[in-house]
């Protein structure tokens, strides 16, 4: 949370010679981070980021306490001037002026005091100025006191018009779902249930506790008697209520962090002092204080060696104690064992030896610790990963003009197979399911680039999330892509080249498939295992996809070596005319097995049903005679004639 602190106000409690610059730097390096310093008239305002565990520093007093502990480490004298209160009121579990019942699970400590005959008027200038500096609008002395105490010590304070509380009775309880309450700002809320509320003697709700008071019990211009009200509430209830009602007040933000119930003592006394000073009101003799479980300081034990091994340096016991004492911890060494008593304002974030270590380390200064890479054994690599394989594919495809994309893993309902994982709280309908195929994302990508006239190829390697019963989905890494404005042969050529460079032995089988145009799709198989598909989609572009793991299994990391033939091949082109609709892929497959000495057959040219093949005749141990080549050629022609009805051109 970000808070504003007035320098002028801070100096009420922080006695130091530190310049603004030094203060900012030391605080940021060893404590809360000062994000910005704003200069206003005769004051500076610090914008400070307080981490959620350190709500004790979310106030002027809290920052003063931190600074007083941190600055000496930077060689700057600093002292905390404790906040002293004048109020002599005593604390009592029962008072005559108010009858209260609480649910101790919702409220750890409940205090209140009646202050009679208040005079409502504007606050003195210094109060107004400080409130403005920290972003509050001064209203009148009563409202200003609440805000002032909250910013000064970090304890929210509330005031009721005492005379509006029917029967001087309060019952603090959990709300029931559907109960209604109108807050000070005039908003009427239908409560979600389990909110902390207070009802008066008439059973009417007068406070949305910890968040905002009820309108029906608010102090107004005619108010004579005020009930000053300081509590500690259960942070979880507060958080749930303000999130559900979207009623995020400063008080709620403090309460949801879990406040120190001991702080209530200071809060109510400081409030009484200000009421006396600013409103001439007359407080009762006793403060109502319902405090079922009083605070008992925790003791944490920590070994000297524990601190040293985790910091990587040696520190004396004296230095360690000094740091902790500055931060309000009481310390005692027993041999090399340190016992530290946690002050109440740190009870919400210090539990373990590690927490004590952190306090010592930050006061020593993280920036003062040495910097060294660990030695020790290097762990062994994860076996069988596909990381390198994937990177290789990305290099190859982008080398041939492919453009890599990253698309969102969530898609709309029409883009998934039944049973796909549904997101319970999606950002929109279009992104409410975990995708089970990359295809819809690529169809969209092609469409989004419809204006592009040149050929393009985009691809991605990403997970799909097929569901499994009672288990996490079977996250599968897939390679997919589309070719747009590209011929089928060119697109297929890129995939063929990829499969060749990955050293795979993959069969292409022409088979129809869902979403693909009839006869325009091939299945890619390694043995009998389907590893991918390629084809022209009904919607236009040429799409392909592979299961990365299957593809990896079908490939070998290094290419195999074939001895270089000693004798040259005889190469010739052979033109054949086929009946219409002959699958030329099958012809080539068949040519490759016609004769041992027909080493290679490639398609060179096509014209309608006429195909020209280039044939390599080769014998591993000698040069083939012309007559031998002729024999093989005759066999080829015979084969294609018998199998495919082809005839030679001449």
């Amino acid at each position: 949370m970000d808070i504003l602190i007035s320098d002028n106000w801070l100096k009420d409690f922080l006695k130091t010679e530190a310049t603004t610059e030094k203060l900012v730097k030391s605080l940021s390096l060893s404590g809360p981070s000062v994000e910005q310093v704003e200069k206003i008239k005769d004051d500076h305002v610090y914008h400070i980021e307080v981490t959620t565990n350190r709500v004790d520093t979310a106030s002027v007093y809290g920052i003063a306490r931190e600074a007083a502990a941190i600055l000496p480490g930077y060689g700057i004298l600093a002292k905390l001037a404790p906040l002293k209160t004048k109020s002599k009121q005593s604390f009592s579990p029962r008072v005559k002026y108010l009858d209260v019942k609480i649910d101790p699970k919702l409220c750890q400590r409940f205090t209140a005091i009646l202050i009679k005959d208040v005079k409502i008027k504007p606050s003195p200038e210094y109060i107004k100025k400080r409130l403005v500096a920290v972003g509050e609008r001064p209203i009148n002395n009563i409202v200003d006191i609440s805000n002032y105490v909250m910013h000064e010590i970090g304890q929210p304070v509330h005031t009721f018009d005492y005379d509006k509380i029917q029967g001087a009775k309060m019952n603090l309880r959990a709300s029931k779902k559907g109960e209604k309450l109108t807050t000070l700002d005039g908003k009427t809320h239908e409560l979600p249930g389990n909110d902390i509320v207070i009802e008066d003697g008439d059973g009417k709700l007068i406070d949305l506790a910890g968040i905002m008071g009820g309108k029906n019990s608010a102090v107004d211009s005619k108010t004579k008697n005020v009930l000053l009200f300081v509590q500690t509430y259960n942070p979880v209830n507060i958080r749930k209520t303000y999130m559900k009602l979207a009623q995020r007040t400063e008080a709620a933000i403090l309460f949801e962090k879990g406040l120190d119930s001991e702080l209530v003592t200071l809060g109510i006394k400081r409030g009484i002092d200000l009421f006396v000073e600013l409103t001439e009101g007359k407080p009762e003799k006793s403060i109502l204080d319902i405090y079922p479980q009083t605070y008992k300081a925790k003791k944490i034990t920590i070994e000297l060696s524990f601190i040293e091994t985790r910091l990587g340096i040696q520190l004396t016991k004296k230095v360690i104690s000094k740091y902790l004492n500055l931060l309000g911890f009481e310390t005692a060494w027993k041999g090399n064992k340190l016992e530290a008593l946690v002050p109440s304002f740190r009870s919400g974030d210090v539990f373990l030896a590690e927490d004590i270590l952190e306090e010592v380390a930050r006061l020593y200064g993280y920036h003062n610790l040495p910097s060294e890479i660990m030695t020790g054994q290097i762990p062994s690599l994860l076996p069988n990963t596909s990381f390198k394989f994937e990177e290789n594919i990305k290099n190859l495809l982008s080398g041939w003009g492919g453009i890599e994309v990253y698309t969102l893993s969530m898609v709309s309902e029409k883009d998934i197979k039944p049973g796909a994982l549904k997101v319970k709280n999606p950002l929109g309908k279009d992104t409410s399911y975990m995708r089970t195929s990359l295809r819809p994302s690529f169809i969209r990508a092609a469409k989004d680039n419809a204006g592009e006239k040149d050929p393009f190829h985009i691809f991605e390697i990403a997970n799909i999330y097929p569901p499994r019963k009672n288990m996490l989905p079977d996250e599968k890494m897939m390679l997919a892509g589309v070719f747009v404005n590209t011929t089928y042969r060119k697109a297929k050529g890129v995939i063929e080249a990829l499969l060749e460079k990955l050293n795979t032995k993959i069969k292409f089988v022409v088979e129809d498939g869902e979403g693909f145009s009839a006869s325009k799709r091939i299945t890619l198989k390694a043995g009998s295992k389907i590893i991918g598909q390629l084809g022209t989609l009904d919607v236009g572009p040429i799409y392909y996809e592979f299961d990365i793991n299957n593809l990896k299994e079908a490939s070998t990391e290094t290419a195999s070596y074939v001895p270089i033939p000693k004798y040259p091949a005889q190469i010739e082109d052979l033109t054949l005319i086929f009946p219409p609709k002959t699958k030329v892929g099958d012809v080539i497959n068949s040519l490759e097995t016609v004769h041992d000495n027909l080493a290679r057959a490639e398609l060179r040219d096509t014209y309608k049903d006429t195909f020209t093949f280039r044939l390599w005749y080769q014998h591993p141990e000698r040069t083939l005679e012309n007559s031998e080549v002729e024999t093989i050629r005759e066999k080829v022609v015979k084969e294609v004639k018998e199998k495919f009805g082809a005839r030679t051109k001449n």
Partner: protein, 351 residues
């Protein structure tokens, strides 16, 4: 007398023959190279015309002058013819070739920025023994939160920050979520390795319920986890400084500031010295420093959840945004981060 005249006449006719022969060959020459050769053949140190000049001294004195004039004329004629012919070749007769024409590029592909970033980050950490791993993106609440000491009521577990999957709750592992950070790999890695040393590098997709110019619901983080005997804050600093020097530049250093995360204790915010002002302070940075991300010493509860004895082993972890870290390095200012995850070719082709 007559003899001399004959001599002179003969000289003149030889000279004319040589000149005409030269001119004829010059006209026939088909290249500049050939012309250069002709120049040597006639006017070189042993050239035909040069040799005639040498012969002048054998002529009678009264004719030497006339012969000298003649030979000079012939020499000039041949030189003229050579240059004229040479220019002709330069301008026209030579094969026209336009070397200034732009090349024909092969179609140029593009790796995505995130891939480039992940590669550089991976390379940097693999050199100091980090092991790259891959863990689920769709994850159990246990690994994403509970095992990381993030209590049930923590804001990170609210359904306005984290995506939940609509499935029945698992009796042991809780709800199914889209992991909002790479830290889900921490306990998984501990359980996989069983016995430290651990030096894990987990780079993965993460998801959070945010979408604006600086957030996309899907993004990437890289997570480092080191667990061994005697691991201290010093080692964390050493590792981060190593990364800063090797990834960002030799003169860059990091610094730690106090922060708070549930799964580390102590926790730090990591800053890197500004590359523009070199730490002096400028418009781009805060007093010479830029925020990199969070880090910390692994919380003993997390170690215990990974079945590792926190009394014997300690560790540190850090987890930062891939996109942000890379943009800081490259000095890229992409106004709307969502562009990274668009399929706009005009954007993708720039990298």
């Amino acid at each position: 007398m007559q003899k001399d005249t004959i001599k002179t006449n003969k000289f003149t006719s030889v000279l004319l023959d040589v000149k005409n022969e030269a001119l004829a060959q010059i006209v026939d020459a088909s290249s500049i190279k050939e012309l250069e050769e002709l120049k040597i053949a006639y006017l070189g140190r042993n050239g035909k015309l040069t040799n005639l000049i040498k012969n002048i001294q054998n002529l009678p004195d009264n004719e030497k002058r006339q012969a000298g004039t003649l030979i000079n004329e012939s020499k000039n004629t041949v030189l003229d013819a050579l240059s004229t012919q040479k220019n002709t070749y330069k301008e026209t007769a030579r094969d026209w070739f336009n070397a200034s024409i732009p090349g024909e590029k092969p179609s140029v592909g593009h790796l995505h920025l995130v891939t480039q970033a992940i590669r550089e980050i991976t390379e940097t950490f693999e050199k100091i023994g980090f092991v790259k791993v891959r863990y689920p993106e769709v994850e159990w609440d246990w690994y994403a939160f509970e095992a990381l000491n993030i209590p049930e009521n923590h804001p990170a577990r609210d359904d306005w920050e984290t995506f939940f999957i609509d499935t029945p709750t698992h009796p042991k592992n809780g709800s199914m979520v889209l992991t909002p950070h790479t830290s889900n790999g921490q306990v998984r890695e501990m359980l996989r390795v069983k016995k430290p040393p651990i030096r894990m590098l987990n780079i993965a997709k993460n998801y959070r319920r945010q979408s604006d110019v600086s957030h996309y619901p899907m993004f990437h983080q890289f997570e480092g986890l080191v667990v061994d005997e005697g691991i201290s804050i010093t080692h964390l600093k050493g590792t981060l400084d190593y990364f800063a020097r090797n990834f960002f530049g030799e003169d860059r250093v990091t610094r730690l500031r106090p922060h708070h995360f549930q799964f580390t204790e102590p926790s730090f915010e990591v800053d890197i010295s500004c590359g523009v002002c070199k730490g002096k302070g400028c418009k781009l940075c805060k007093e010479g420093w830029l925020e990199l991300g969070g880090a910390g010493m692994v919380h003993p509860t997390v170690l215990r959840n990974g079945k590792i004895d926190p009394n014997k082993y300690t560790g540190f972890a850090f987890g930062w945004g891939v996109e942000r870290t890379y943009m800081m390095k490259a000095g890229l200012d992409i106004g709307d981060i969502r562009l990274l995850y668009s399929t706009d070719l005009k954007f993708l082709k720039q990298f």
